[in-house]
């Protein structure tokens, strides 16, 4: 798959589908993400956005192919996907409540093993991006506010030095001010060259950040749009509702 790499695409997906038992939650989808691109995935509840993220990571049984940085991601092997640099910040954050913030961050660099100097460097970088985590470093993660937990979830993902971040509804349950703060950080990371795929219910926020948008409906991609061409909410609703 060197063609895809040379074409400037970090992620290329062909015919990816996923089932939960007899229910086809994700119909075969094709999509791509360019190097350093921020792509948003929008769609109503039950459209298959979260399943798409889980399928990309191999957290659900899938059919189809996922190529990442020119290599095929092994099917149903999230550890391999993470080792390749594809990292998911799951819906609901998935932080480890009984552990301290510092331990959560350390787990983000789980694949690093025993390189303490590199671990410290990554800690430093994440804490400079989210200074609030620095203040809460010794605190149990379960006692953080929702916004802080989301910062921790993103920070933990960054500890693995991902080549691409998959973010599943980072604004879920957060106050607008906190959401904006987190999305601003994502914009900074994207400007530094990190590729991002963002699943978001709050369409206006995603449209502000993304370079391209996939709209999902009933388990498949209904449209691929350029956010700059969306002039009004009605126009966006047309994509949602078909």
């Amino acid at each position: 798959m060197s063609d895809t790499a040379s074409a400037g695409r970090i992620l290329e997906v062909q015919g990816l589908s996923a089932r939960y038992g007899h229910v086809e939650a994700l119909r075969p989808v094709d999509l791509y993400v360019g190097n350093g691109e921020l792509v948003a995935v929008l769609g109503p509840n039950g459209a298959g956005k979260s399943t798409l993220m889980r399928a990309l990571m191999g957290l659900v049984p899938t059919q189809g192919r996922v190529h990442f940085r020119g290599s095929e991601v092994p099917r149903h092997n999230p550890a391999a996907a993470a080792a390749m640099g594809l990292v998911l910040v799951p819906e609901g954050r998935g932080i480890f409540g009984p552990m301290t913030v510092a331990d959560n961050l350390e787990l983000g660099a789980y694949l690093l093993k025993r390189d303490k100097a590199e671990l410290a460097r990554r800690h430093e970088r994440v804490l400079s991006l989210f200074p609030r985590l620095q203040e809460r470093r010794a605190q149990v993660a379960g006692s953080l506010s929702g916004g802080e937990q989301q910062m921790l979830a993103v920070g933990r993902a960054l500890m693995s030095q991902p080549k691409m971040l998959l973010l599943d509804e980072p604004s879920l349950g957060l106050a607008p001010r906190i959401t904006e703060e987190i999305l601003e950080k994502l914009a900074v990371l994207n400007r530094e060259g990190l590729s991002i795929m963002l699943v978001e219910q709050k369409a206006p926020l995603a449209l502000k950040l993304a370079r391209r948008v996939y709209v999902m409906s009933v388990g498949s991609i209904a449209a691929e749009i350029d956010p700059r061409t969306i002039k009004s909410h009605d126009e966006l609703a047309r994509f949602y509702l078909g």
Binding site: V87, G94, I95, P98, L107, Y110, L111, A138
Partner: protein, 324 residues
């Protein structure tokens, strides 16, 4: 953060450590006065090893097992048969028993750990029941319900642990080592992976943690602890029968785990001591003994739902400083 604050915070996080310090004089009193209570403390120390191991699988890694009594039984019966019937050295017999328990855990764990929640609980319960039935039915080796007696005490060569006090010291040292090892595991990369799996298997997978692999490791470590406890029991008592490792053991060890504080480092061992000693302290109530026993357990779980280790709520939290 000063080292003094670290100790305080550590005690707050796991106050069972502090309660152990309070329990030490009681152990010393029993050691000096001797008598029947020494035998009770023998059981407490052996169960402390068992539940500390079970806590690694259930408390740290967040899995469920009703079948670890099977690993204690395999190790205990191997020790009993080889020493009482074939004249093996206790240490060598216990070593082989431990290998048998680990081999069984590996064979059983690989397929069953794909299951989750209630299904895993049912599968492990079946393992325990199968071990019990084998102990009953395989009479030519296990002597069935009659059990095996004349099992020699622990020892190496000519040196054997014959006095109750020496055995108590040995068992307490072994239990302390077991708790220290569990504390080391909890603080290690391995322990953090266990806790991550308990928190969210998907989130752990997404970080590159091989969940199936680590669940099996947690299962094997806890089976190792169960195997040690199983062998120690037969050499401490000198007798073994199927009842020793039956369903009663499952209920008892779960009570110790939850009363002490599942997921904490020293709580389960404290639970083992409390649950072993409790019937003795209320024995004077004669007919009402069971009622009092149940009432105490209910009160503990109402006022300390996280077990004795959750008693940290009794003193106010200390403000966390920024530094780790």
């Amino acid at each position: 953060m000063s080292s003094r604050a670290s100790i305080w915070d550590e005690a707050r996080r796991d106050p069972a450590l502090l309660l152990w310090v309070l329990a030490a004089p009681l152990v010393l009193y029993v050691f000096i006065t001797g008598g029947y209570l020494i035998a009770v403390l023998h059981f407490a120390a052996i169960y402390a090893i068992f539940v500390t191991g079970l806590n690694i699988f259930m408390g740290y890694a967040g899995q469920v097992s009703f079948g670890h009594n099977a690993f204690a039984a395999i190790s205990g019966y191997t020790s009993a048969v080889l020493t009482a019937k074939h004249g093996w050295e206790p240490l060598a017999a216990a070593g082989l028993g431990l290998c048998g328990a680990l081999a069984c855990a590996l064979i059983v764990g690989y397929p069953t750990l794909r299951l989750r929640g209630h299904y895993l609980a049912m599968a492990t319960l079946a393992i325990g029941l199968i071990a019990y039935e084998v102990a009953v039915q395989w009479g030519s080796v296990t002597q069935g319900y009659m059990g095996i007696s004349g099992i020699p005490p622990l020892g190496i060569g000519a040196w054997t642990v014959t006095s109750d006090r020496a055995l108590l010291v040995l068992l307490i040292v072994l239990a302390a080592l077991a708790v220290l090892a569990a504390a080391g595991i909890r603080r290690s990369r391995l322990g953090r992976a266990f806790v991550a799996i308990a928190g969210s298997e998907d989130a752990a997978r997404a970080l590159g943690i091989d969940v199936a692999h680590y669940k099996l490791i947690a299962f094997l470590i806890s089976a190792f602890y169960a195997g040690i406890a199983g062998s120690l029991f037969v050499h401490a008592v000198g007798f073994v029968s199927p009842e020793v490792y039956g369903l009663h053991m499952v209920v008892l060890t779960f009570t110790m785990l939850y009363v002490g504080g599942i997921g904490t480092v020293a709580g389960p061992a404290l639970g083992a001591m409390l649950i072993a000693l409790l019937p003795e302290t209320i024995r004077s109530l004669s007919d009402y003994q069971d009622l009092a026993y149940g009432a105490v357990l209910i009160l503990i779980l109402i006022y300390a739902p996280g077990g004795l280790a959750s008693l940290s709520r009794l003193w106010p939290p200390r403000r966390c400083t920024g530094a780790a």
